[in-house]
């Protein structure tokens, strides 16, 4: 697998926002997703990854238009199924950085099962979920994260279904890096995306990203400029100080659940992180072990051996 991919050396050009910009985003003016895109460019500029090794993938939704706006290899797939698509890319090509973008409908509704299993298998990829609590592309229907009472075209009397708690869902499913951010906080988004990218395994950043058209003001409570509070999760520094006692230990699953239960707008930062082995690593180990056992025979030799047994 990895051994078969030729290395091409470093990309000669320095990667800038100008290189990374592709089609002009089709989002509405004021959409939170612009800031997510800007943060992604910023993160890539900081890290200077070889450009041809970056892959941006997405399902369907406003935020899922993302790959068209990033000038790297990319794919725009069908609704809700981008996690398994990205899993295929990640498992077959360990040389690539696989980024996945989407919204709350893709992640928590139609693609809920794939999210669960991608997380459980701990496939190595980074998933940025732009959560706006509403279906925007189809013009204001209830989403799986719409709060109770939210009036939409499909819930004219207000939503009655209990919304998904994304952090709890992700932690329970087995995601190994779970973080939350807010689209008005560019530096925080860059930091969260960067940590997610560096985490080996299924890493998710949920970003509250306002839909100015169909749910304006949804996230003001988390925006200090609108009178809200952007409450950061303070992570343990393991310095033995008394204030460290009350800081959050991201490896503590129960503590992460408690944080996830805070009333809206809740806390922002890394909720949960663990270093369970990835599916990529476990499968690669198996392949290596099998190859070592068969003495790295050629395909022809292997198949001939099998056919000889069937004579």
């Amino acid at each position: 697998m990895s051994a078969t991919i030729p290395t091409l050396g470093p990309t000669p050009e320095k990667l800038t926002k100008k290189d990374l910009s592709a089609d002009h985003p089709t989002w509405c003016p004021g959409c939170g997703d612009f800031a997510v895109l800007a943060s992604f460019y910023k993160m890539l500029e900081r890290r200077q990854l070889p450009r041809e090794k970056i892959v941006t993938l997405a399902g369907i939704g406003c935020s899922s238009r993302f790959p068209y706006f990033v000038n790297t290899h990319g794919g725009h797939f069908i609704h809700g199924r981008a996690v398994p698509l990205a899993s295929g890319v990640s498992l077959a090509r360990p040389d690539l950085h696989v980024f996945l973008f989407g919204g709350d409908g893709d992640a928590f509704s139609i693609g809920g099962n794939h999210l669960e299993h991608g997380a459980r298998k701990n496939v190595n990829l980074t998933y940025v979920i732009m959560d706006n609590f509403v279906y925007g592309l189809t013009k204001k229907q209830t989403s799986p994260t719409s709060p109770l009472g939210f009036k939409s075209k499909t819930d004219p009397n207000g939503a009655v279904d209990q919304p998904v708690n994304p952090m709890k869902k992700l932690i329970a499913a087995g995601a190994t890096f779970v973080a939350r951010s807010h689209a008005t906080q560019v530096n925080h988004m860059v930091a969260m995306m960067e940590r997610a990218m560096d985490h080996p395994g299924f890493s998710v950043v949920e970003i509250l990203s306002e839909c100015v058209e169909f749910f304006p003001g949804a996230f003001d409570a988390g925006n200090p400029r609108k009178g809200g509070e952007f409450r950061l999760i303070e992570e343990k520094m393991w310095d033995g100080s008394p204030e460290d006692e009350r800081r959050h230990d991201p490896s503590d699953e129960l503590a992460a659940y408690k944080l996830a239960d805070l009333p809206f707008p809740g806390a922002f930062g890394v909720f949960y992180e663990n270093d369970r082995p990835t599916k990529n690593a476990l499968e690669a180990q198996w392949v290596e072990a099998v190859r070592a056992k068969t003495g790295k025979k050629t395909a022809l030799e292997l198949l001939q051996q099998t056919f000889d047994r069937m004579k």
């Binding site: 030729p6 069908i78 199924r81 498992l91 077959a92 056919f307």
Partner: protein, 600 residues
């Protein structure tokens, strides 16, 4: 049983030593319960025949219950071409009363029923058959010393059959060692003891004839390999350099994924089991997008679930192999029976204008070669390709000439050569060949693959002119493929009264029907289609030479009296002489049924 020196064993009642009789062909049906190892005994017989350069074909039914329930395995061993598993059995082995009751109707007149006298009371008043009662259960328990109980009955019967049919016991014992040798030694010893007990049984006391197969004429040819259709398909994919895939278990597809899951890592590849059918096709598309042509597969209902993503593959022009091992439908239907009712689904099952390549293997051997062809087409035309196998091919064991692996096995790596500034992922004037991720784009513009209608660079567009042009691009490449497909040959008379047209696993019974009719002086011909979409060019010229075109297929005659392929051929050629011969019992065609349907 076609005997070269006709000699009805029923005719001679003398209890003497077995008298030899030379035969060309024998159909042996083993009937018991699913936990009795009927399948493994039958499979061993089939492999023995394959090793003895005999032609062989098997037919089995496995109940869809988890354990228990009736099970049968039919082996037809012959000298020369064995095309179908046989309409009637020459020899029935009945382990239980229900095995006897349910299967005696499939025994030909004059045939032998060998039954376990510990469990079966035959109707001896029915003078059509030869009755051979042996206390199989008791003798097995006695031979094995009790701890194994009656497990081993199957191998005891193998020993009996080896004696009766003069099988090469050395080869058979070697096969037993290969099959059981990997487990602990006591299992192998038990198997060998059971075999020897069966072989030593004085069967001459109850049966007067011993049969001997005429030696095969082409003993000097290539060595034969013996396997089932799902194995042949899996190994064909491996030969074609397919190293990645994803699927979800469903009968009768599952054994393909089991083989690929354990085999592909040896070749440096990977096959993953996914959470569901949609996850599986999506993961496979991720493999393909990354530059490794991938395979996903299922059976009818699972293919329905994959349909939206296959539409994406058509639109994004992503190569993909989709295997459908068909079973009886719709819905859960007849999960362990055979039907060819997913042809429409394969050709038309997509949303939008989504032309797809559809191939169907005709025999176990063809499962191997069609997998190679599917991979070639998927790569060259950057398109999804369906392989329509079915339950009967999946579980049937056949012997065939060992493929010339040296000239068939290929290896592919993603093509990561840097692409120049003029690169277009979707050129209107050429075939799409994607630049997988990891490829440097020297012009600085990186491609997006997409399910939205797009321009040549992959940018989404709703431009009416472009949608027409891109729809035509996706259609044209299949028309281009059609021009490359060889016209299938006509078997039998090149022109005349009637041409039977078949596809998939009906090949054997159709060809045998033609052979039988021609041996009886009738004029009959057959043509078998492996390429169902697109069809090869020029079929109308062949059709013009016959007065009647009869499409033989295992699906319903539909609202208007025509099966699925018949409907497509009628639509394509507007030829009123195309008619249908259908069967929907969940069982394969008998030769007799085809002859009756055609010659009536």
């Amino acid at each position: 049983m076609t005997a070269s020196q006709p000699e009805n064993p029923a005719a001679s009642g003398a209890r003497a030593d077995l008298r030899p009789e030379h035969i060309r062909d024998a159909v042996i049906r083993l009937a018991g319960n699913s936990q009795d190892g009927i399948q493994s005994a039958g499979a061993l017989l089939a492999r023995l025949a394959g090793r003895s350069a005999q032609d062989v074909m098997t037919y089995m039914t496995i109940p869809s219950t988890i354990s228990g329930g009736p099970s049968l395995f039919q082996v037809r061993v012959g000298t020369g071409d064995v095309l179908s598993p046989g309409d009637e059995a020459d020899f029935l082995v009945a382990f239980y009363q229900h095995s006897y009751d349910d299967n005696i109707g499939f025994l030909r007149e004059g045939g032998v029923v060998l039954y376990d006298s510990d469990h079966v009371e035959p109707d001896r008043d029915d003078k059509r058959f030869v009755y051979v009662g042996i206390p199989i259960t008791g003798l097995t328990v006695e031979a094995l010393g009790g701890t194994a109980k009656d497990k081993g009955k199957n191998v005891f019967v193998l020993g009996l059959l080896a004696k009766i049919f003069g099988f090469d016991t050395e080869k058979l014992q070697r096969l037993l060692r290969e099959k059981f040798g990997g487990k602990n030694e006591s299992i192998l010893n038990t198997a060998l003891m059971a075999f020897q007990a069966g072989y030593a049984y004085p069967v001459g006391n109850v049966l007067s004839t011993r049969y001997k197969f005429e030696p095969s004429g082409d003993a000097g040819g290539r060595a034969q390999v013996t396997m089932d259709g799902n194995q042949a398909l899996a190994y064909g994919l491996i030969a074609a350099g397919v190293r990645h895939g994803a699927a979800y278990p469903i009968t009768p597809w599952t054994t393909v994924m089991e083989i690929l899951r354990s085999e592909l890592p040896k070749y440096g590849g990977l096959f993953v089991q996914c959470e569901d059918e949609i996850g599986a096709v999506s993961t496979a598309l991720g493999f393909s997008y990354s530059g490794h042509l991938a395979i996903t597969g299922s059976s009818g209902p699972g293919i329905s679930l994959k349909t939206e993503a296959i539409g994406w593959a058509t639109m994004a022009e992503m190569p993909l192999i989709i295997v459908n091992v068909q079973r009886g439908g719709p819905s859960t239907g007849l999960p362990t029976n055979v039907e060819q009712s997913d042809l429409y689904q394969a050709i038309f099952g997509g949303h939008g204008d989504s032309p797809r390549v559809v191939l169907a293997p005709s025999t176990v051997e063809d499962c191997f070669y069609i997998a190679i062809e599917a991979a070639r087409i998927a790569r060259n035309f950057s398109t999804p390709v369906f392989i329509l196998s079915d339950a009967s091919l999946a579980t049937r064991i056949q012997a065939f000439d060992e493929p010339d692996l040296r000239n068939l096995v290929v290896e592919f790596l993603p093509n990561l050569t840097p692409r120049g500034p003029g690169f277009r992922p979707y050129p209107l004037d050429g075939l799409t060949q994607h630049a997988p991720p990891g490829t440097r784009m020297l012009g600085g513009v990186y491609p997006t693959v997409t399910g939205l209608e797009h321009d040549e660079m992959g940018h989404p567009t709703g431009n009416p002119r472009l949608h027409s042009a891109m729809t035509a691009k996706r259609r044209n490449k299949l028309q281009r493929l059609a021009a490359e497909i060889p016209l299938p040959g006509v078997f039998g008379d090149p022109e005349g009264e009637a041409l039977l047209v078949g596809w998939g696993s009906t090949y054997g019974p159709i060809y045998e029907a033609v052979k039988t009719a021609r041996d009886g002086g009738e004029c009959l011909s057959a043509l078998h289609l492996r390429h169902l979409n697109p069809l090869p060019n020029g079929l109308e010229k062949i059709f013009a030479r016959f007065r009647r075109i009869i499409v033989v297929e295992m699906n319903d005659e539909g609202l208007y009296g025509y099966g699925q392929l018949a409907t497509i051929l009628r639509a394509r050629y507007c030829d009123p002489k195309i008619s249908s011969l259908n069967k929907t019992s969940g069982l394969t065609f008998r030769v007799k049924e085809i002859l009756e349907g055609v010659l009536k």
